[in-house]
Amino acid sequence: MKNDNKRRSFLKNISLATFSTLALSGCNMKEIDEFLQGNFRELTPEEKDEIVKNLAEKYKKRYGKEFTVSDEPAMVGVLFGYALDISRCIGCRKCVTACVKENNQSRDPQIQWIQVLEMEKERGVDLHHSNINYDHEKVPEKGHFYFPVQCQQCRNPQCVTVCPAKATWQEKDGIVVVDYNWCIGCRYCMAACPYGARHFNWGEPTIPTEEINTDVHYLGNRPRQKGVVEKCTFCVQRVRKGKYPSCVEICPVGARKFGNLLDPESEVRYILDNKRVLVLKQELNTQPKFYYYFG
Protein backbone atom coordinates (compact mmCIF):
# COMPACT_ATOMS: atom_id res chain seq x y z
CA MET A 1 0.00 0.00 0.00
CA LYS A 2 2.75 2.42 0.97
CA ASN A 3 4.82 1.52 -2.07
CA ASP A 4 1.86 2.10 -4.34
CA ASN A 5 1.49 5.55 -2.92
CA LYS A 6 5.08 6.35 -3.64
CA ARG A 7 4.83 5.26 -7.19
CA ARG A 8 1.64 7.20 -7.64
CA SER A 9 3.10 10.39 -6.28
CA PHE A 10 6.19 9.92 -8.46
CA LEU A 11 4.06 9.59 -11.56
CA LYS A 12 2.09 12.64 -10.50
CA ASN A 13 5.26 14.58 -9.89
CA ILE A 14 6.84 13.69 -13.16
CA SER A 15 3.78 14.67 -15.17
CA LEU A 16 3.61 17.92 -13.28
CA ALA A 17 7.30 18.51 -13.89
CA THR A 18 6.92 17.99 -17.61
CA PHE A 19 3.96 20.30 -17.62
CA SER A 20 5.76 23.00 -15.68
CA THR A 21 8.82 22.71 -17.94
CA LEU A 22 6.59 23.29 -20.90
CA ALA A 23 4.84 26.16 -19.15
CA LEU A 24 8.16 27.69 -18.18
CA SER A 25 9.54 27.46 -21.68
CA GLY A 26 6.32 28.89 -23.03
CA CYS A 27 6.85 32.17 -21.22
CA ASN A 28 10.24 32.83 -22.85
CA MET A 29 10.70 30.31 -25.61
CA LYS A 30 13.43 32.18 -27.49
CA GLU A 31 15.76 32.59 -24.56
CA ILE A 32 15.47 28.93 -23.69
CA ASP A 33 16.01 28.00 -27.35
CA GLU A 34 19.16 30.10 -27.36
CA PHE A 35 20.28 28.46 -24.13
CA LEU A 36 19.67 24.98 -25.47
CA GLN A 37 21.12 25.76 -28.91
CA GLY A 38 23.42 23.03 -30.22
CA ASN A 39 26.91 23.49 -31.56
CA PHE A 40 26.70 25.57 -34.72
CA ARG A 41 28.50 22.96 -36.81
CA GLU A 42 25.88 20.34 -36.01
CA LEU A 43 22.80 22.39 -36.73
CA THR A 44 20.63 21.67 -39.74
CA PRO A 45 20.14 24.47 -42.29
CA GLU A 46 16.58 24.93 -40.98
CA GLU A 47 17.79 25.33 -37.42
CA LYS A 48 20.40 27.84 -38.57
CA ASP A 49 17.78 29.82 -40.48
CA GLU A 50 15.63 29.96 -37.36
CA ILE A 51 18.54 31.15 -35.20
CA VAL A 52 19.56 33.76 -37.73
CA LYS A 53 15.97 35.01 -37.98
CA ASN A 54 15.64 35.29 -34.21
CA LEU A 55 18.93 37.16 -33.99
CA ALA A 56 17.80 39.67 -36.60
CA GLU A 57 14.68 40.30 -34.51
CA LYS A 58 16.68 40.61 -31.32
CA TYR A 59 19.09 43.13 -32.89
CA LYS A 60 16.21 45.11 -34.35
CA LYS A 61 14.71 45.40 -30.90
CA ARG A 62 18.02 46.46 -29.40
CA TYR A 63 19.29 48.88 -32.06
CA GLY A 64 16.09 49.87 -33.87
CA LYS A 65 17.56 48.97 -37.28
CA GLU A 66 16.93 46.22 -39.83
CA PHE A 67 19.73 43.66 -39.70
CA THR A 68 20.74 41.14 -42.35
CA VAL A 69 22.16 38.23 -40.40
CA SER A 70 23.84 35.68 -42.64
CA ASP A 71 25.09 32.17 -41.99
CA GLU A 72 26.73 31.84 -45.41
CA PRO A 73 28.94 28.73 -45.39
CA ALA A 74 32.47 28.50 -46.81
CA MET A 75 32.78 28.47 -50.61
CA VAL A 76 34.06 25.23 -52.11
CA GLY A 77 37.60 25.37 -53.50
CA VAL A 78 38.68 28.35 -51.43
CA LEU A 79 41.38 28.71 -48.82
CA PHE A 80 41.79 32.32 -47.84
CA GLY A 81 45.21 33.88 -47.50
CA TYR A 82 46.45 37.35 -46.73
CA ALA A 83 49.64 39.20 -47.56
CA LEU A 84 50.86 42.46 -46.11
CA ASP A 85 53.68 44.52 -47.60
CA ILE A 86 55.77 45.78 -44.69
CA SER A 87 57.95 47.83 -47.00
CA ARG A 88 54.88 49.84 -47.95
CA CYS A 89 52.79 50.19 -44.78
CA ILE A 90 53.07 53.72 -43.40
CA GLY A 91 51.30 53.11 -40.08
CA CYS A 92 48.32 55.40 -40.69
CA ARG A 93 45.91 53.10 -38.77
CA LYS A 94 43.18 53.56 -41.39
CA CYS A 95 42.76 49.77 -41.38
CA VAL A 96 42.16 49.78 -37.63
CA THR A 97 39.38 52.35 -37.92
CA ALA A 98 37.77 50.63 -40.90
CA CYS A 99 37.92 47.27 -39.12
CA VAL A 100 36.32 48.63 -35.95
CA LYS A 101 33.41 50.06 -37.94
CA GLU A 102 32.92 47.11 -40.28
CA ASN A 103 33.05 44.53 -37.54
CA ASN A 104 31.03 46.30 -34.83
CA GLN A 105 33.83 46.35 -32.29
CA SER A 106 33.13 47.87 -28.93
CA ARG A 107 34.13 51.55 -28.69
CA ASP A 108 33.95 51.53 -24.90
CA PRO A 109 35.59 49.48 -23.49
CA GLN A 110 37.78 49.76 -26.56
CA ILE A 111 38.44 46.65 -28.63
CA GLN A 112 40.56 46.70 -31.80
CA TRP A 113 41.33 43.58 -33.80
CA ILE A 114 44.27 45.15 -35.64
CA GLN A 115 47.29 46.47 -33.81
CA VAL A 116 49.86 48.47 -35.74
CA LEU A 117 53.32 48.09 -34.26
CA GLU A 118 55.94 50.73 -34.88
CA MET A 119 59.42 49.28 -35.15
CA GLU A 120 62.88 50.73 -35.53
CA LYS A 121 64.56 50.02 -38.83
CA GLU A 122 67.83 49.45 -37.01
CA ARG A 123 66.39 46.64 -34.94
CA GLY A 124 64.30 44.95 -37.62
CA VAL A 125 61.26 42.88 -36.66
CA ASP A 126 61.66 43.03 -32.90
CA LEU A 127 58.38 42.69 -31.02
CA HIS A 128 59.93 43.55 -27.66
CA HIS A 129 60.91 47.01 -28.78
CA SER A 130 57.80 47.75 -30.79
CA ASN A 131 55.35 50.48 -29.89
CA ILE A 132 51.62 50.55 -30.60
CA ASN A 133 50.95 53.89 -28.92
CA TYR A 134 52.96 56.04 -31.33
CA ASP A 135 51.35 59.41 -31.87
CA HIS A 136 53.13 61.39 -34.57
CA GLU A 137 51.79 64.39 -36.45
CA LYS A 138 52.47 62.60 -39.73
CA VAL A 139 53.52 59.05 -40.60
CA PRO A 140 55.76 57.33 -41.56
CA GLU A 141 58.22 58.53 -38.94
CA LYS A 142 61.86 58.63 -40.04
CA GLY A 143 63.85 55.51 -39.20
CA HIS A 144 60.77 53.44 -38.45
CA PHE A 145 58.64 50.88 -40.18
CA TYR A 146 55.21 49.58 -39.35
CA PHE A 147 54.03 46.07 -38.68
CA PRO A 148 50.25 45.56 -38.38
CA VAL A 149 49.27 42.41 -36.47
CA GLN A 150 45.88 40.76 -36.45
CA CYS A 151 44.64 37.16 -36.37
CA GLN A 152 47.13 35.16 -38.43
CA GLN A 153 44.49 32.54 -39.33
CA CYS A 154 46.84 29.68 -38.51
CA ARG A 155 46.55 26.33 -40.22
CA ASN A 156 47.47 24.90 -36.84
CA PRO A 157 45.48 27.19 -34.54
CA GLN A 158 46.31 26.72 -30.88
CA CYS A 159 43.30 28.77 -29.83
CA VAL A 160 41.11 26.04 -31.32
CA THR A 161 43.06 23.25 -29.66
CA VAL A 162 42.65 24.66 -26.16
CA CYS A 163 39.00 25.70 -26.32
CA PRO A 164 37.21 23.48 -23.80
CA ALA A 165 33.77 24.29 -25.20
CA LYS A 166 34.51 23.77 -28.92
CA ALA A 167 33.25 27.27 -29.40
CA THR A 168 35.99 28.20 -31.87
CA TRP A 169 37.12 26.28 -34.93
CA GLN A 170 38.66 26.54 -38.36
CA GLU A 171 36.18 26.69 -41.23
CA LYS A 172 36.75 24.91 -44.53
CA ASP A 173 37.91 28.15 -46.16
CA GLY A 174 40.56 28.46 -43.44
CA ILE A 175 38.93 31.18 -41.36
CA VAL A 176 39.09 30.61 -37.61
CA VAL A 177 35.72 31.65 -36.21
CA VAL A 178 34.05 31.97 -32.80
CA ASP A 179 30.46 31.06 -31.95
CA TYR A 180 29.64 33.78 -29.43
CA ASN A 181 26.64 31.76 -28.21
CA TRP A 182 28.93 28.90 -27.22
CA CYS A 183 31.91 30.84 -25.90
CA ILE A 184 32.04 30.45 -22.12
CA GLY A 185 34.56 33.25 -21.68
CA CYS A 186 37.34 31.18 -20.12
CA ARG A 187 39.97 33.01 -22.24
CA TYR A 188 42.12 29.91 -22.68
CA CYS A 189 42.35 30.80 -26.37
CA MET A 190 43.76 34.21 -25.51
CA ALA A 191 46.48 32.58 -23.47
CA ALA A 192 47.21 30.13 -26.27
CA CYS A 193 47.38 32.68 -29.09
CA PRO A 194 50.98 33.82 -29.61
CA TYR A 195 49.88 36.89 -31.58
CA GLY A 196 47.57 38.60 -29.07
CA ALA A 197 44.91 38.46 -31.72
CA ARG A 198 41.97 37.55 -29.50
CA HIS A 199 40.07 40.08 -27.46
CA PHE A 200 37.71 39.67 -24.55
CA ASN A 201 34.56 41.65 -23.86
CA TRP A 202 35.22 42.64 -20.27
CA GLY A 203 32.15 44.82 -20.28
CA GLU A 204 28.94 45.10 -22.25
CA PRO A 205 30.17 46.38 -25.65
CA THR A 206 28.94 49.78 -26.78
CA ILE A 207 28.60 50.88 -30.39
CA PRO A 208 26.99 54.16 -31.45
CA THR A 209 23.68 53.22 -33.12
CA GLU A 210 24.39 55.41 -36.15
CA GLU A 211 27.71 53.66 -36.74
CA ILE A 212 26.49 50.09 -36.40
CA ASN A 213 27.02 47.82 -39.40
CA THR A 214 23.76 45.99 -40.01
CA ASP A 215 25.19 43.60 -42.61
CA VAL A 216 26.38 40.87 -40.27
CA HIS A 217 27.43 37.22 -40.22
CA TYR A 218 26.62 34.81 -37.40
CA LEU A 219 30.28 33.78 -37.08
CA GLY A 220 31.66 37.25 -37.67
CA ASN A 221 30.64 40.80 -37.00
CA ARG A 222 27.25 40.37 -35.34
CA PRO A 223 26.98 42.35 -32.11
CA ARG A 224 28.64 40.50 -29.26
CA GLN A 225 27.71 40.29 -25.62
CA LYS A 226 29.74 40.74 -22.46
CA GLY A 227 31.94 37.79 -21.54
CA VAL A 228 32.86 36.42 -24.95
CA VAL A 229 36.05 36.40 -26.99
CA GLU A 230 36.26 37.89 -30.48
CA LYS A 231 38.86 38.17 -33.25
CA CYS A 232 39.53 39.01 -36.89
CA THR A 233 37.60 36.78 -39.30
CA PHE A 234 39.03 38.19 -42.57
CA CYS A 235 35.63 39.98 -42.66
CA VAL A 236 33.78 36.68 -43.17
CA GLN A 237 30.59 38.63 -43.97
CA ARG A 238 32.34 40.28 -46.92
CA VAL A 239 34.75 37.67 -48.27
CA ARG A 240 32.16 34.93 -48.56
CA LYS A 241 30.29 37.25 -50.91
CA GLY A 242 33.42 37.81 -52.99
CA LYS A 243 34.32 41.20 -51.56
CA TYR A 244 37.71 42.17 -50.17
CA PRO A 245 38.07 42.54 -46.39
CA SER A 246 37.52 46.14 -45.35
CA CYS A 247 41.14 46.64 -44.23
CA VAL A 248 42.25 45.75 -47.78
CA GLU A 249 39.79 48.20 -49.31
CA ILE A 250 40.76 51.10 -47.07
CA CYS A 251 44.56 50.79 -47.12
CA PRO A 252 45.73 54.01 -48.83
CA VAL A 253 49.08 52.55 -49.89
CA GLY A 254 47.74 49.21 -51.14
CA ALA A 255 49.91 47.26 -48.72
CA ARG A 256 47.21 44.70 -47.98
CA LYS A 257 46.47 41.86 -50.38
CA PHE A 258 43.92 39.12 -50.13
CA GLY A 259 42.83 36.10 -52.11
CA ASN A 260 42.47 32.38 -52.61
CA LEU A 261 45.60 30.37 -51.83
CA LEU A 262 44.36 27.48 -53.95
CA ASP A 263 44.12 29.63 -57.06
CA PRO A 264 47.54 29.91 -58.73
CA GLU A 265 46.46 33.16 -60.42
CA SER A 266 45.42 34.98 -57.27
CA GLU A 267 47.25 38.01 -55.93
CA VAL A 268 48.43 36.19 -52.80
CA ARG A 269 49.84 33.31 -54.80
CA TYR A 270 51.71 35.75 -57.04
CA ILE A 271 53.25 37.25 -53.91
CA LEU A 272 54.21 33.86 -52.49
CA ASP A 273 55.79 32.92 -55.82
CA ASN A 274 57.62 36.17 -56.56
CA LYS A 275 58.33 38.09 -53.36
CA ARG A 276 60.33 37.64 -50.20
CA VAL A 277 57.82 36.41 -47.66
CA LEU A 278 57.91 35.81 -43.92
CA VAL A 279 55.43 34.63 -41.32
CA LEU A 280 55.35 35.89 -37.76
CA LYS A 281 56.81 33.55 -35.13
CA GLN A 282 57.49 30.81 -37.65
CA GLU A 283 59.30 28.77 -34.99
CA LEU A 284 56.01 28.07 -33.20
CA ASN A 285 54.68 25.98 -36.10
CA THR A 286 51.33 27.73 -36.09
CA GLN A 287 51.55 27.93 -39.89
CA PRO A 288 49.78 31.24 -40.46
CA LYS A 289 47.88 32.03 -43.64
CA PHE A 290 48.82 35.66 -43.04
CA TYR A 291 52.09 36.52 -44.80
CA TYR A 292 54.32 39.55 -44.56
CA TYR A 293 56.31 40.42 -47.67
CA PHE A 294 58.64 42.97 -49.16
CA GLY A 295 57.10 44.40 -52.33
Binding site: I14, A17, K166, G254
Partner: protein, 215 residues
Protein backbone atom coordinates in the same frame (compact mmCIF):
# COMPACT_ATOMS: atom_id res chain seq x y z
CA UNK B 1 -12.76 14.60 12.59
CA UNK B 2 -9.32 13.21 13.21
CA UNK B 3 -9.26 11.49 9.86
CA UNK B 4 -10.17 14.75 8.22
CA UNK B 5 -7.24 16.47 9.86
CA UNK B 6 -4.87 13.77 8.71
CA UNK B 7 -6.15 14.08 5.19
CA UNK B 8 -5.70 17.81 5.25
CA UNK B 9 -2.16 17.42 6.53
CA UNK B 10 -1.31 14.82 3.91
CA UNK B 11 -2.70 16.95 1.12
CA UNK B 12 -0.64 19.96 2.18
CA UNK B 13 2.52 17.95 2.35
CA UNK B 14 1.86 16.37 -0.97
CA UNK B 15 1.44 19.73 -2.65
CA UNK B 16 4.66 21.01 -1.11
CA UNK B 17 6.40 17.88 -2.23
CA UNK B 18 5.08 18.14 -5.73
CA UNK B 19 6.19 21.72 -6.28
CA UNK B 20 9.65 21.07 -4.88
CA UNK B 21 10.24 17.90 -6.85
CA UNK B 22 8.91 19.40 -10.03
CA UNK B 23 11.31 22.30 -9.71
CA UNK B 24 14.22 19.97 -9.14
CA UNK B 25 13.17 17.80 -12.04
CA UNK B 26 12.91 20.81 -14.37
CA UNK B 27 16.43 21.88 -13.50
CA UNK B 28 17.65 18.34 -13.90
CA UNK B 29 16.10 18.11 -17.37
CA UNK B 30 17.71 21.32 -18.54
CA UNK B 31 21.03 20.16 -17.20
CA UNK B 32 20.62 16.78 -18.86
CA UNK B 33 19.77 18.25 -22.25
CA UNK B 34 22.65 20.70 -22.29
CA UNK B 35 25.06 18.04 -21.09
CA UNK B 36 24.14 15.40 -23.62
CA UNK B 37 24.33 17.78 -26.53
CA UNK B 38 27.83 18.89 -25.51
CA UNK B 39 28.99 15.32 -25.04
CA UNK B 40 27.81 14.46 -28.50
CA UNK B 41 29.74 17.35 -29.98
CA UNK B 42 33.00 16.24 -28.49
CA UNK B 43 32.67 12.93 -30.26
CA UNK B 44 31.38 14.19 -33.57
CA UNK B 45 33.26 17.41 -34.13
CA UNK B 46 36.51 17.02 -35.91
CA UNK B 47 38.73 19.97 -35.12
CA UNK B 48 41.09 19.29 -38.00
CA UNK B 49 38.79 20.10 -40.83
CA UNK B 50 41.09 19.74 -43.76
CA UNK B 51 40.72 20.78 -47.33
CA UNK B 52 41.04 17.26 -48.74
CA UNK B 53 37.51 17.06 -50.08
CA UNK B 54 37.87 20.22 -52.13
CA UNK B 55 37.55 19.46 -55.79
CA UNK B 56 37.23 22.56 -57.84
CA UNK B 57 39.44 25.57 -57.23
CA UNK B 58 37.70 28.91 -57.37
CA UNK B 59 39.64 31.07 -59.75
CA UNK B 60 39.95 34.75 -60.37
CA UNK B 61 37.95 35.58 -63.45
CA UNK B 62 40.11 36.80 -66.30
CA UNK B 63 40.44 40.54 -66.65
CA UNK B 64 40.69 42.01 -70.13
CA UNK B 65 40.90 45.65 -69.25
CA UNK B 66 41.76 47.69 -66.21
CA UNK B 67 38.92 49.62 -64.70
CA UNK B 68 40.72 52.72 -63.53
CA UNK B 69 39.78 56.02 -61.99
CA UNK B 70 39.94 59.01 -64.35
CA UNK B 71 43.26 60.87 -64.30
CA UNK B 72 43.34 63.34 -61.38
CA UNK B 73 43.64 66.62 -63.30
CA UNK B 74 43.77 69.95 -61.52
CA UNK B 75 40.50 71.82 -62.12
CA UNK B 76 40.34 73.64 -65.43
CA UNK B 77 43.69 72.41 -66.70
CA UNK B 78 42.47 69.94 -69.30
CA UNK B 79 42.27 70.01 -72.32
CA UNK B 80 45.74 71.51 -72.60
CA UNK B 81 45.11 72.64 -76.17
CA UNK B 82 42.75 75.32 -74.87
CA UNK B 83 45.90 77.33 -74.24
CA UNK B 84 48.70 75.46 -75.96
CA UNK B 85 46.75 75.26 -79.21
CA UNK B 86 47.37 78.98 -79.74
CA UNK B 87 51.02 79.02 -78.73
CA UNK B 88 54.22 78.27 -80.55
CA UNK B 89 55.96 75.45 -78.71
CA UNK B 90 59.31 76.21 -77.15
CA UNK B 91 61.43 73.04 -76.93
CA UNK B 92 64.20 74.61 -74.86
CA UNK B 93 64.65 73.16 -71.42
CA UNK B 94 64.05 75.93 -68.84
CA UNK B 95 62.53 76.78 -65.48
CA UNK B 96 58.85 77.57 -65.83
CA UNK B 97 58.03 80.96 -64.37
CA UNK B 98 54.98 82.35 -66.10
CA UNK B 99 52.76 79.26 -66.20
CA UNK B 100 52.77 75.96 -64.33
CA UNK B 101 55.11 77.48 -61.78
CA UNK B 102 53.16 75.60 -59.10
CA UNK B 103 54.60 72.31 -60.35
CA UNK B 104 57.45 71.16 -58.18
CA UNK B 105 59.38 68.70 -60.30
CA UNK B 106 61.27 66.02 -58.38
CA UNK B 107 61.24 63.02 -60.67
CA UNK B 108 64.76 62.52 -61.93
CA UNK B 109 64.74 66.26 -62.62
CA UNK B 110 68.44 66.19 -63.45
CA UNK B 111 67.86 64.25 -66.63
CA UNK B 112 64.23 64.79 -67.52
CA UNK B 113 61.73 67.52 -68.09
CA UNK B 114 58.17 68.19 -69.39
CA UNK B 115 58.60 67.07 -72.98
CA UNK B 116 59.93 63.63 -72.05
CA UNK B 117 56.36 62.66 -71.17
CA UNK B 118 54.18 65.38 -72.72
CA UNK B 119 54.09 65.56 -76.50
CA UNK B 120 55.24 68.84 -77.97
CA UNK B 121 52.64 68.89 -80.74
CA UNK B 122 49.70 66.97 -79.39
CA UNK B 123 49.40 68.59 -75.98
CA UNK B 124 46.37 66.54 -75.00
CA UNK B 125 48.40 63.37 -75.24
CA UNK B 126 51.27 61.79 -73.44
CA UNK B 127 54.23 60.43 -75.32
CA UNK B 128 56.20 57.23 -74.92
CA UNK B 129 59.97 57.24 -75.43
CA UNK B 130 59.52 55.80 -78.91
CA UNK B 131 57.26 58.67 -79.91
CA UNK B 132 53.99 56.79 -79.65
CA UNK B 133 51.14 58.96 -78.40
CA UNK B 134 49.16 57.89 -75.40
CA UNK B 135 45.89 58.93 -73.82
CA UNK B 136 46.01 60.25 -70.26
CA UNK B 137 43.81 57.31 -69.24
CA UNK B 138 46.65 54.94 -70.14
CA UNK B 139 49.36 56.82 -68.31
CA UNK B 140 50.36 53.59 -66.53
CA UNK B 141 52.06 52.46 -69.74
CA UNK B 142 54.21 55.56 -69.67
CA UNK B 143 55.21 54.93 -66.05
CA UNK B 144 55.87 51.29 -66.92
CA UNK B 145 58.61 52.29 -69.37
CA UNK B 146 60.99 52.89 -66.51
CA UNK B 147 59.27 51.19 -63.60
CA UNK B 148 58.91 47.80 -65.27
CA UNK B 149 58.88 45.74 -62.09
CA UNK B 150 56.26 47.94 -60.48
CA UNK B 151 54.21 47.86 -63.69
CA UNK B 152 54.25 44.05 -63.69
CA UNK B 153 53.15 43.97 -60.06
CA UNK B 154 50.48 46.58 -60.74
CA UNK B 155 49.01 44.59 -63.60
CA UNK B 156 48.52 41.50 -61.45
CA UNK B 157 47.11 43.60 -58.63
CA UNK B 158 50.05 43.42 -56.25
CA UNK B 159 51.40 46.97 -56.46
CA UNK B 160 48.83 49.58 -55.58
CA UNK B 161 45.41 49.62 -54.09
CA UNK B 162 42.63 47.35 -55.38
CA UNK B 163 39.00 47.44 -54.50
CA UNK B 164 36.12 45.26 -55.66
CA UNK B 165 36.05 41.49 -55.58
CA UNK B 166 38.85 39.08 -54.77
CA UNK B 167 37.36 36.55 -57.18
CA UNK B 168 35.89 38.91 -59.73
CA UNK B 169 35.85 42.48 -60.99
CA UNK B 170 38.56 44.65 -59.50
CA UNK B 171 38.86 48.36 -59.54
CA UNK B 172 42.34 49.67 -60.30
CA UNK B 173 43.80 53.07 -59.62
CA UNK B 174 46.17 54.81 -62.02
CA UNK B 175 49.75 55.25 -60.80
CA UNK B 176 49.08 58.98 -60.72
CA UNK B 177 46.07 58.56 -58.42
CA UNK B 178 48.53 57.91 -55.58
CA UNK B 179 51.81 59.32 -56.91
CA UNK B 180 51.94 62.84 -58.23
CA UNK B 181 53.81 62.26 -61.52
CA UNK B 182 55.91 65.38 -60.97
CA UNK B 183 56.81 64.53 -57.34
CA UNK B 184 56.07 60.81 -57.05
CA UNK B 185 57.13 60.20 -53.47
CA UNK B 186 54.09 59.15 -51.44
CA UNK B 187 52.87 61.96 -49.19
CA UNK B 188 52.96 61.53 -45.44
CA UNK B 189 49.58 61.08 -43.75
CA UNK B 190 48.10 61.98 -40.41
CA UNK B 191 47.56 58.71 -38.52
CA UNK B 192 44.27 57.79 -36.89
CA UNK B 193 44.29 58.06 -33.08
CA UNK B 194 46.42 55.64 -31.09
CA UNK B 195 44.61 52.86 -29.23
CA UNK B 196 43.79 53.43 -25.57
CA UNK B 197 46.45 52.13 -23.24
CA UNK B 198 45.24 49.02 -21.47
CA UNK B 199 45.59 50.61 -18.06
CA UNK B 200 43.31 53.45 -19.16
CA UNK B 201 40.43 51.20 -20.18
CA UNK B 202 37.94 51.40 -17.34
CA UNK B 203 34.75 49.46 -16.96
CA UNK B 204 32.02 51.80 -15.80
CA UNK B 205 28.37 51.34 -15.06
CA UNK B 206 26.52 52.15 -18.26
CA UNK B 207 22.92 51.57 -17.33
CA UNK B 208 20.87 50.21 -14.48
CA UNK B 209 20.49 46.73 -15.93
CA UNK B 210 24.19 46.28 -16.42
CA UNK B 211 26.11 45.63 -13.27
CA UNK B 212 29.36 47.44 -12.82
CA UNK B 213 32.27 45.12 -13.26
CA UNK B 214 35.50 45.51 -11.48
CA UNK B 215 38.17 43.51 -13.24
Amino acid sequence: MKINEIFYFMKNRLINNISLTSLLLTLFFIFLISCTSKDMDVKKVDSHEGTEDIVEVKKVSTIDEYAVDPPPFTDGIFPCNDCHGYQDPNPVRRDLVEWHDDISFKHDSENRWCLDCHDIKQRDSLRLANGKLLDFKESYKLCGQCHGEKYRDWKVGVHGKRTGEWNGKKHYLLCVSCHNPHTPKFKKLKPDPAPMKQEDIKLVKKSENIESNEK
